[in-house]
């Protein structure tokens, strides 16, 4: 009996050791060839699996003549290696570009880092930081709703008649807003109950950054947080994060930097939130932010009367490529379903395709009319055609 027990315990012990070994191998398999902390390494298009002639068609589109869209920077990274980078219109590898709403995805990642460090949790209530929200409907708003753009605030990101009258402008520049943008948002009326309606807007990340400030509670610690928690470990040294007069980070915009630095955010996502062996984001954060549709977008009521901005699927300050019930196809049919993007005004784009190890960053100065905008689906179609090496 004792020898049988001994045998069982030996087998169990061996299984445990082998099992742990297997887990550690699995983790090791996910490690990149190198970490681009100091700089990105390069590879030729051909050695990374691209057809050079097909890729030229992509470049012809990205850099097409003035009069249509205007590209300023374009970078393609495959499996951690830069296979192409180009600049125009006065930009170069070290010239900072305005991120516009790419800043929202940066804000998402900073909030994720704060959750990992135990400073915030997704189910914290906004009213616990902003007593102004201790009122009907607003009292139930959580950080999760704020990240899913589903708090219910009465806020119109783009005024359909005149963009100059958009709430996204007044929330930065109005006399009662610029001194404390997050407080201005906290005082805004709610049109819906939390989680009832998805409504993309710059107000939600503003409030998220205000909550982070209040949760940290010390202005010096708060202003250093983005750098210590994320930007310095990844060596994203070009990044500038602008603030309001009360020193709250603007969150929804106000970010600046160079394309290859912003691409590191994409690489962090591809590594599931770890960087050089150190976990920066909670283990389930990347899935939550980049692959999980905001629950409010899945509600039956949401299938009708969607605003233009609401058609595309959305996670937590990242745009997704999941097909919503109300749509016939994915937002970007040419790209795989796992594509997720940071997107901003005037054509700012970072697309990440985990299944292909691809990161593409395009910064631009596009106009507002459709023919003055770069078509993102066309970009993905040409990019993926060059990777597949379709018939030339």
């Amino acid at each position: 009996m004792r020898s049988r027990l001994k045998l069982i315990s030996i087998v169990a012990g061996l299984s445990l050791v082998l099992g742990l070994h297997r887990i550690s191998n699995a983790e090791a398999a996910g490690e990149p060839d190198y970490w681009p902390t100091q700089d990105w390494r390069t590879k030729s298009l051909e050695s990374a699996g691209f057809s050079k002639t097909r890729f030229q068609k992509l470049l012809d589109y990205v850099w097409e003549d003035e009069g249509n869209h205007k590209s300023d920077a374009f970078v393609v990274i495959k499996d951690g290696y830069v296979v192409y980078e180009g600049y125009d219109r006065g930009y170069n590898p070290s010239k900072k570009h305005m991120f516009w709403s790419l800043s929202k995805s940066l804000t998402s990642t900073l909030i994720g880092a704060a959750v990992h460090q135990g400073i915030l949790s997704l189910d914290m209530k906004a009213k616990d930081f902003y007593p102004e929200m201790n009122r009907e409907k607003a009292k139930d708003v959580t950080l999760r709703h704020i990240l899913n753009m589903s708090s219910g605030f009465k806020f119109y990101e783009e005024n359909p008649i005149n963009i100059a009258l958009s709430d996204s402008i007044f929330v930065y520049y109005a006399k009662d807003a610029y001194q404390d943008v997050a407080l201005k948002v906290a005082k805004t009326k709610l049109k819906h109950s939390p989680d009832e309606q998805f409504n993309y807007g710059t107000h939600e990340p503003m409030l998220a950054m205000g909550i982070l400030k209040k949760a940290i509670g010390n202005i010096k610690t708060y202003e250093n947080f983005p750098f210590e928690a994320l930007l310095t470990p990844l060596n994203m040294k070009s990044i500038v994060l602008e603030r309001d007069k009360s020193k709250t980070f603007l969150g929804g915009s106000g970010g600046w930097g160079v394309a290859k630095d912003f691409a590191k955010l994409g690489f962090l996502m591809l590594q599931n939130g770890s960087w050089e062996g150190k976990r920066i984001l909670p283990k389930n954060w990347v899935k939550f932010a980049t692959q999980t549709v905001a629950p409010a977008q899945l509600r039956r009521d949401n299938q009708r009367g969607q605003q233009r901005l609401n058609i595309e699927s959305y996670g937590a300050y990242w745009w997704l490529n999941k097909k919503l019930k109300m749509n016939k196809e994915r937002p970007y049919p040419s790209a795989p379903e796992d594509l997720f993007q940071a997107m901003g005004f005037r054509g700012q784009t970072m697309g990440v395709i985990p299944s292909l190890g691809l990161i593409v960053v395009r910064m631009g100065s596009d106009g507002r009319k459709p023919k003055k905008k770069m078509k993102r689906d066309k970009l993905y179609r040409l990019l993926l055609a060059s990777l597949r090496g379709d018939q030339e």
Partner: protein, 110 residues
């Protein structure tokens, strides 16, 4: 024709009494501050951005102070670079512009 005149008058009154008429000067001060001192673009480039956006305001830069003052729609706004360059520009003040009121909103001619 009569309707057009009435609509124009309504638009004029709305524009002059708009509670957010500070936004053009505040926005311009901030964005031009960032254009010059964060993006380090040339003044010519930043002025081109202003022209393209059609903002009803004008601005002047003070390079020594890394500051931009913008005026428009009866407001004057000031934005400047933070002492710590990691934080870029922010709006410092937004006030009624008595000077521009006296001059009957002639910014378009300056």
């Amino acid at each position: 024709m009569k309707n057009l005149i009435v609509l124009s008058l309504i638009a004029l009154v709305s524009a002059s009494s708009c509670k957010f008429s500070e936004a053009p000067s505040a926005g311009l001060a901030k964005e031009m501050c960032s254009c010059l001192f964060v993006a380090e673009q040339t003044e010519q480039y930043c002025r081109q951005v202003t022209r393209e956006s059609g903002i009803l305001a004008n601005w002047e830069a003070n390079y020594a102070k890394q500051q931009v003052v913008a005026r428009g729609m009866n407001y004057v706004s000031v934005a400047s670079m933070d002492e710590d360059s990691r934080f870029g520009c922010s709006i410092k003040t937004v006030n009624l512009d008595s000077d521009s009121q006296d001059k009957s909103n002639d910014w378009g001619n300056r």
